[in-house]
């Protein structure tokens, strides 16, 4: 295998130590953290790739060789006492979902050396298609799923991930040479978009992207807004975040001399690696290596700690023993941890007692509330009007006469009710009897009985042309 694995040690992701006395050095990668069941079963699943310096998976490690730590801040790590599950070659046992993402920009139709050509056999795309076909034929595990996407100015899904490899093989022919307008390279956007193709798929998920050049956004270089994205330029951090959230690993293949400067960090920060390939043969071996690595990963499941954090850091430490004995290896990555009810306050203060006490005090006040009517003057209270509108809701009654009617001069005006006369009814006070009497000139009901004149009792209900008015003597 001539490919060169360029796993970066720059970030906190991979830290492998050389072992001077032995001819091989192991690589440890935490390629996927699946925390989707965290709140359901407290369980986090880790896919751990251990490879030798040729990129081949090391498959004879035992559960005792692994130690897992978790931290809410990336500094203070807690040892996970026990693994709930340990499974070597998890990719073979469970199957892997691959999404093949092919560059379909204009340069893919040049020769390998980068010269224009009209000979299809010399074009990079032909090499890429052949390599994909050989990748497909090497996928013998019936549990694996595979899908196909191409990108240039546009993102195109040719085959959604499925178990049907023939479908993907046929879809390869659907990738056609782009026009000038289509020949830009929306690399970052397409990677972000590709994440969505995994919706509804469980387990191990990997994007294998073949790139033959830099991210070359349409809106930035054509001077016109992108038909779908508009003026928005997608940064390389966007696919990183999307893949980290969903636990998807990006394996990047640089096909040709021109490399995107951020592709490597996209791969490394999502748990994958970068490969370089110059021709069909190298490309085939790269695809094979990716498949082998993913299939040969260890699955480690453990019960997550409860410390709240947006990001939880996981560290896997391997102490290889036996034939693979060597120095301790360690890899750290993070997952986006679900929070049940948000993150806690930074500190608790006794001031928090105030709302509790205030609410309790308000409750006590409410229980002490007396909502009885006070004694007051005699009054007419309008409960509702079927038609029209009353000028006031409560009208105190004096000793003078009180006119109820439709006219403005009335003391209680029922406006907009055609059945109400200018001066429909009058309430008069009889000093000697100390009683109010209603006298009507139109139709008036008291307690639903028609009356001409009637001495009012407390609580009598007067109906004046559809307005319901209660006589209140003011006593309680």
């Amino acid at each position: 295998m001539r490919h060169k694995s360029t796993a970066a040690a720059a970030l906190l992701l991979v830290a492998s130590l050389a072992w001077p006395a032995v001819s091989f050095a192991l690589n440890l990668r935490l390629s996927q953290i699946d925390a989707s069941r965290l709140l359901l079963s407290q369980r986090v699943r880790l896919y751990v790739s251990v490879t030798d310096d040729l990129g081949r998976p090391v498959e004879d490690l035992r559960a005792e060789d692994f130690r897992v730590f978790e931290s809410p801040d990336g500094e203070r790590f807690t040892r996970i006492p026990r693994l709930e599950q340990f499974r070597p070659s998890a990719g073979i046992a469970e199957g892997v979902s691959f999404l093949l993402v092919l560059d379909n920009s204009g340069s893919m139709y040049d020769t390998l050396a980068g010269n224009p050509t009209e000979d299809p056999q010399a074009m990079r795309m032909t090499h890429a298609r052949d390599a994909v076909r050989s990748f497909l034929s090497s996928m013998t595990d019936p549990k694996d799923t595979v899908g196909l996407v191409s990108y240039n100015t546009y993102y195109r899904l040719h085959a959604a991930p499925s178990k049907d490899r023939a479908l993907v093989s046929a879809a390869l022919e659907g990738i056609t040479r782009p026009s000038r307008e289509e020949a830009y390279t929306e690399l970052y956007h397409s990677l972000s978009r590709a994440v969505r193709e995994f919706e509804g798929l469980a387990g191990r998920k990997a994007i294998v992207i073949l790139s033959d050049g830099e991210n070359y956004p349409y809106s930035e270089h054509s001077g016109r807004p992108h038909p779908e994205l508009g003026e928005r330029v997608v940064e390389h951090t966007e696919p990183i975040r999307a893949c980290q959230e969903e636990g998807i690993t990006v394996y990047a293949v640089n096909f040709g001399a021109v490399k995107d400067p951020n592709l490597e960090s996209i791969a490394v920060e999502t748990g994958g690696t970068v490969f370089d390939a110059r021709d069909r043969r190298e490309l085939e071996s790269v695809y094979r290596a990716i498949h082998e690595q993913v299939a040969g990963e260890y699955l480690l499941a453990y019960r997550a700690t409860m410390a709240p954090a947006v990001r939880k850091f996981v560290r896997v430490v391997v102490q290889p023993a036996g034939a693979a004995a060597g120095p301790e290896l360690s890899a750290t990555r993070f997952y986006f941890s679900s929070t049940v009810f948000g993150l806690p306050l930074t500190s608790l203060s006794l001031l928090l007692l105030i709302p509790l006490l205030a609410a309790a005090a308000a409750l006590w006040l409410l229980t002490a509330l007396r909502l009885e009517r006070r004694k007051g003057p005699a009054a007419l209270e309008v409960l509702h009007t079927r038609v029209g509108r009353a000028s006031t809701r409560v009208l105190p009654l004096g000793t003078a006469k009180t006119v109820i009617g439709g006219g403005r001069s009335a003391d209680l005006t029922i406006a907009g009710a055609p059945g109400v006369k200018e001066q429909h009814a009058t309430v008069v006070y009889d000093k000697s009897k100390k009683a109010y009497t209603v006298v009507s000139s139109g139709e008036v009901l008291v307690n639903n009985q028609p009356v001409k004149t009637r001495v009012l009792e407390p609580g009598d209900v007067i109906d004046v042309g559809g307005a319901t008015i209660v006589f209140d003597d003011g006593e309680v």
Partner: protein, 306 residues
């Protein structure tokens, strides 16, 4: 107290419940790391919020009916039922999450944005159901239980969903849990009021005397009227009434008023009901229409649309 004031008081209690539940929720969230698992954590959180929501809203009936002896039992029963409702509701929500999660959501993002808020809203809905039904069980009224069930469920679902989404929309906002809990409490109160109104067949308004202006929303299919505080329409200040003087029953969709103590005449619209007929020991019956004026003893009542 008019039905509007009654509804405002319940709303007020819902808001206060949210305010009171907040410090407890903060205390629990702060100590998340001390819990053995998310399941236990979630159940305890639900129970704590349920405790205060139940206690505050449990006081509503006693306060609005102005019967002090009902307030403390209401608070206690509400608190117990709230604890159960919160814990069970959140475990049910968690189970729903399990189903949703297994069926459709393998994606962390959609789990966070859809699965989690939806399942949590289901949990809050259950909490609302339990709290809403407290009064129904106290009154042993199927209709009131139905009111609580529906009102609590809708309030819990809507309030819970808003609460969960608020967290997603404004994750950095320190008071988002407070606002969320207040919305939850208010939503349960509002929906309880709306459903109560929707299921009520009428309102009885006291027209005179000490309880003048007080309104009773009639949701139950059997409403007793009298001096005793056990009645749905309890009128203790009107001393010339019998303990249980009259009754309104729903019969074939109609509200029928009957006099239970024929010694005192029952009048509707100034006309005696059934009284005086030979051999009529029930005191007579009357099919109520809206705007009827009822008079028995010294009290006058107005029957109106809810």
């Amino acid at each position: 107290m008019s039905t509007l004031v009654r509804r405002l008081i319940i709303l007020c209690l819902g808001v206060l419940a949210g305010v009171a539940a907040w410090p407890l929720a903060e205390l629990i969230v702060f100590n998340q790391a001390a819990f053995p698992s998310y399941l236990v954590f979630v159940a305890v959180l639900g129970a704590a919020v349920g405790l205060l929501m139940g206690a505050f809203l449990g006081a509503a009936e006693g306060i609005t009916a102005r019967i002090k002896s009902r307030i403390l039992p209401g608070i206690l029963v509400g608190a117990v039922v709230g604890v159960l409702g919160g814990a069970i509701g959140f475990l049910v929500g968690q189970a729903a999450l399990l189903v949703i999660g297994e069926l459709a959501l393998q994606s962390t993002r959609s789990f966070q944005r859809v699965g989690l808020p939806v399942s949590r809203a289901i949990g809050w809905g259950f909490l609302g159901v339990f709290i809403g039904m407290v009064e129904g069980f106290r009154a042993r009224s199927g209709k009131k239980i139905a009111v609580g069930l529906l009102g609590g469920l809708l309030g819990g679902l809507v309030g819970g969903f808003l609460l969960e989404y608020l967290r997603l929309l404004a994750p950095g906002f320190r008071l988002n849990r407070l606002v969320g809990l207040v919305i939850l409490g208010a939503a349960i109160a509002v929906f309880y009021g709306l459903v109560e109104k929707g299921l009520a067949h009428g309102v009885l308004r006291v027209l005179n005397g000490a309880l003048k202006g007080k309104e009773y929303l009639l949701t139950q299919s059997r409403v007793n009227i009298g001096r005793s505080r056990r009645n749905e329409v309890a009128l203790p200040p009107y001393e010339d009434l019998a303990d249980r003087q009259a009754q309104i029953r729903i019969r074939r969709g109609e509200a029928v008023l009957s006099n239970l103590e024929p010694k005192r005449p029952l009048l509707v619209n100034d006309r005696p009901v059934g009284g005086g007929k030979a051999g009529d020991r029930t005191g007579g019956e009357h099919r109520l229409k809206y705007d009827d004026v009822i008079r028995v003893g010294s009290v006058k009542l107005f029957y109106r649309v809810p």
